[in-house]
């Protein structure tokens, strides 16, 4: 009894009060900024070095939909590339994930691209079914953390549910393996419509490190519109929660 009271006292208040403005450590690898003039030679070398093919040499850019946030390009070209700790990097416009030179603006969601029914139906309650399709379980752990005592996204009525029948959409993690392709389709088909598709993590958005694998089957993505792209390796809980809040039109 006394021990329990002691534990409770030490536990204290765990929740992050403001999920919109919480600050992460300066080392956190979020939105990159490209500055200065990058020579053609450097750009070629960086593009060649990038382990997931996220860097394009001309015009010089980093695609956060392919970037695994290893930061190696920044170590190689510290004068030109800097990963900021800005975790507000989810968007519904795939092109917005491509960071161009001398572009240091926040990543935003395009409200015109959001389907109308999403904000009327899901603004106050959003139940999601997560489907892991070849992920390494780190995104899954971060999505679980999004609902834990620290991040507590349940405060906005957002939570993960067990059955697709109860879900307003699917959250896909992993590059989508051939062996999981059918199960993913069956799960999505079982959700009541309209149903969201959220790609969570770089693997899901582009295949990431696994783009060239012959064990993938990403045809699902050409059959269904994508409502939200959430980059990360893994996605930080704050990135996910803020992206979803933007999508459903919450402050």
């Amino acid at each position: 009894m006394f021990r329990s009271i002691k534990i409770l006292r030490q536990h204290g208040i765990q929740y992050v009060p403001n999920l919109r403005t919480a600050e992460l450590t300066s080392l956190f690898r979020g939105r990159p900024v490209l500055s200065g003039e990058v020579s053609a030679e450097l750009a070629t070398n960086l593009a060649k070095m990038c382990p997931s093919g996220a860097i394009q040499q001309a015009p010089f850019s980093i695609d956060m939909g392919k970037c695994i946030f290893c930061r190696e390009c920044e170590f190689a070209a510290p004068d030109n590339i800097r990963f900021t700790n800005d975790y507000h990097i989810a968007t519904n416009n795939r092109d917005n994930l491509i960071i161009k030179e001398n572009h240091d603006n926040p990543i935003v969601l395009n409200p015109d691209l959001v389907r109308k029914e999403i904000r009327t139906l899901f603004r106050r309650s959003l139940k999601l079914r997560q489907v892991s399709a070849g992920g390494d379980a780190s995104n899954e752990m971060e999505l679980n953390a999004a609902g834990n005592v620290n991040f507590d996204m349940g405060r906005y009525g957002i939570e993960f549910v067990a059955s697709p029948r109860h879900a307003d959409g699917v959250v896909i993690t992993g590059p989508i393996t051939e062996n999981m392709a059918e199960a993913l389709q069956i799960c999505f088909d079982a959700t009541p419509k309209p149903s969201l598709v959220i790609l969570c993590g770089t693997d899901a958005i582009s295949g990431g490190l696994f783009q060239e694998s012959n064990a993938l089957n990403r045809n699902f993505l050409s059959r269904h519109p994508i409502d939200l792209y959430v980059p990360g390796n893994p996605v930080h809980p704050l990135t996910f929660i803020n992206g979803v809040l933007d999508l459903i039109g919450r402050e």
Binding site: R3, S4, K6, I7, Q10, H11, Q14, L24, T25, L27, F28, R29, P51, S52, I68, F69, C70, R71, E72, R129, Q130, V131, S132, A133, G134, G135, D136, A137, S138, E140, M141, E142, L143, N144, A145, N148, V149, N150, F160, A162, S163, G174, P175, T177, E178, N179, M180, E182, A183, C187, L209, F210, E212, S213, N214, A215, L216, N233, P234, H236
Partner: protein, 511 residues
């Protein structure tokens, strides 16, 4: 058969690569007899047994670990083109069942008298491409009395996919079969075609997200061995700290998960918050909560700095104290103990026969811990005493987590404290990952005790020094069958707690 009649090459942990030619090649009957003979001793277990295309045929490599000597024994067998059938060793040594199934799946070798050569993961480059996930041959019992329960591949929670097929008599589980492969990304092949040291390093961090550091360190050691790079003691110590932090975080997280499954919300919430403090320490160190980006062959981009060490020591002090308190609560509460005690038991002889490793061995009284038997890196200089339980049930697995987390917290505190005043960083560690050359026509391996158990990577290089084969083993590969054994004759409602108590990796198995 006395030891001297065996034909193998003996390797120490962390040994330099050996010429591929120096690995003895045995004819198959001798090869099979040697594996079976050596593995009769319960202190010898199979780390890896695999095959890869070689000179128009296949080369089979067996790596056994001998606990008494702390050595690895490596020997091989070669087939010529057209060999399709070999006598299975599994009837004598059941621990090889999955290794033989993997060779069968990849190359079509028919192991005669193997109990059942089922697919392992429906690998993209499997021998029989016409078979798909839906063709998995489940064990069936035809009976009017029994029923089957299928669960997955998508599970109720936010976890990885796998299919569980139970055959039940009422509420009681007679048999559980676990079908995996849904997570298969062809990662071993990507290692071969990676084209750069950096790409392989980041791939190794993405084999299994909860074992990022474990696999990345193992990979880094292997690459360093092939390239002839030695790393300084500071970096070795930092890697050991990272490995132990990973263990602490997962053990505390699993303590929370075990509380969840017995409806002890207090324990769940407190432990989740404690796990957060540990993974946020990793984030403070390298910017990633799982340690991605931290481990690189030959160096690191994130040497431990004094502020990080100070924060780490403070966190471990506080978290260690709070973890002691909450686990004292958990392990003295009758309402919890009754849900752990005697549930999901795997006996010592079962664990030995399936070749269980890591926690799944130590919970059943088998002292298998690479940190103690085959230590490399920083562990080679310390004397680690493994935590052993002998009841083989959920309680034993929960207690091992508790004891190991406590022990690792103390170890990291000790190591980190030694680092801070003496060796101010940045130390001459180097940032690593520049392209490294590899010794040609060689074989190299690295083994580490991750939080789940032993992680093994093995590589073979060709005449030009390029990788021609890369093999990865996550401890889950050995241990999934332990879960199937644990739930036999249990209520099906105890499955979740049994599953959590092992917390095996799907992606680590599926690769």
């Amino acid at each position: 058969m006395p030891m001297q009649d065996f034909s193998y090459i003996e390797l120490s942990p962390g040994a330099a690569p050996i010429g591929l030619k120096t690995i003895p090649v045995l004819n198959y009957p001798d090869f099979a007899e040697q594996i079976a003979g050596l593995m009769k001793a319960e202190t010898v277990h199979c780390v890896l047994y695999y095959a890869f295309p070689f000179n128009n045929g296949l080369k089979f490599i067996a790596i056994l670990a001998v606990d008494a000597t702390g050595k690895f024994l490596v020997f091989s067998h070669e087939t010529t083109a057209g060999v399709t059938d070999l006598e299975s060793i599994t009837p004598q040594i059941p621990a090889l069942h999955l290794f033989e199934r993997e060779i069968h799946e990849n190359f079509g070798i028919g192991f005669q008298h193997h109990p059942w050569l089922k697919p392992v993961r429906f690998s993209a480059d499997r021998y029989q491409k016409d078979l798909t996930m839906n063709d998995y041959p489940f064990y069936r019992i035809d009976s009017e009395e029994l029923h089957e329960v299928g669960v997955g591949p998508i599970h109720a929670g936010v976890i990885e996919p796998g299919h569980f097929r139970f055959i039940c008599n009422g509420e009681k589980v007679l048999h559980l079969e676990i079908q995996l492969g849904y997570q298969h990304r062809g990662i071993e092949k990507l290692f071969l075609n990676a084209g750069s040291t950096l790409r392989r390093a980041v791939l190794s961090e993405n084999i299994a997200g909860d074992t990022t550091v474990g696999h990345a360190v193992t990979h880094a050691q292997l690459i360093e061995s092939l390239a002839g790079i030695t790393i300084n003691e500071n970096l070795q110590k930092e890697r050991a700290i990272a490995l132990e932090l990973e263990r602490i975080a997962v053990h505390i997280g699993d303590t929370a998960a075990l509380c969840t499954d017995v409806a002890y919300q207090f324990g769940q919430v407190v432990n989740e918050a404690l796990r957060t403090t540990i993974i946020n320490t990793s984030q403070l160190w390298c910017g990633n909560r799982f340690g991605k980006g931290l481990i690189r062959p030959g160096g690191t981009n994130y040497p431990l700095t004094v502020p990080v060490i100070e924060s780490m020591l403070k966190t471990l002090d506080n978290t260690g104290m709070r973890y002691r308190d909450i686990t004292d609560n958990i392990f003295t509460a009758p309402s919890i103990l009754i849900r752990f005690d005697g549930i999901g038991t795997v006996t010592r002889s079962q664990a030995l026969s399936i070749g269980a490793v890591g926690m799944a061995a130590r919970m059943a009284g088998i002292p298998r811990d690479i940190r103690a038997t085959h230590p490399s890196g920083y562990y080679a200089g310390i004397k680690y005493e493994p935590e052993i339980q002998d009841t083989g049930d959920v309680l034993a697995r929960a207690l091992i987590r508790n004891l190991e987390a406590r022990k690792s917290i103390e170890m990291v505190k000790e190591w980190a404290a030694q680092l801070s005043p003496v060796t101010r960083h940045p130390s001459p560690i180097g940032s690593g990952v520049s392209a490294v050359g590899s010794k040609p026509s060689s074989f190299a391996m690295a083994v580490n005790e991750g939080w789940r158990g032993e992680i093994a990577h093995a590589a073979v290089t060709g005449p030009d020094g390029e990788l021609v084969h890369y093999k990865i083993k996550d401890p889950s590969f050995h241990n999934w069958i332990a879960l199937a054994l644990a739930v036999r004759n249990q209520e099906i409602s105890d499955f979740p707690i049994c599953n959590k108590s092992f917390n095996l990796s799907y992606c680590g198995h599926d690769l």
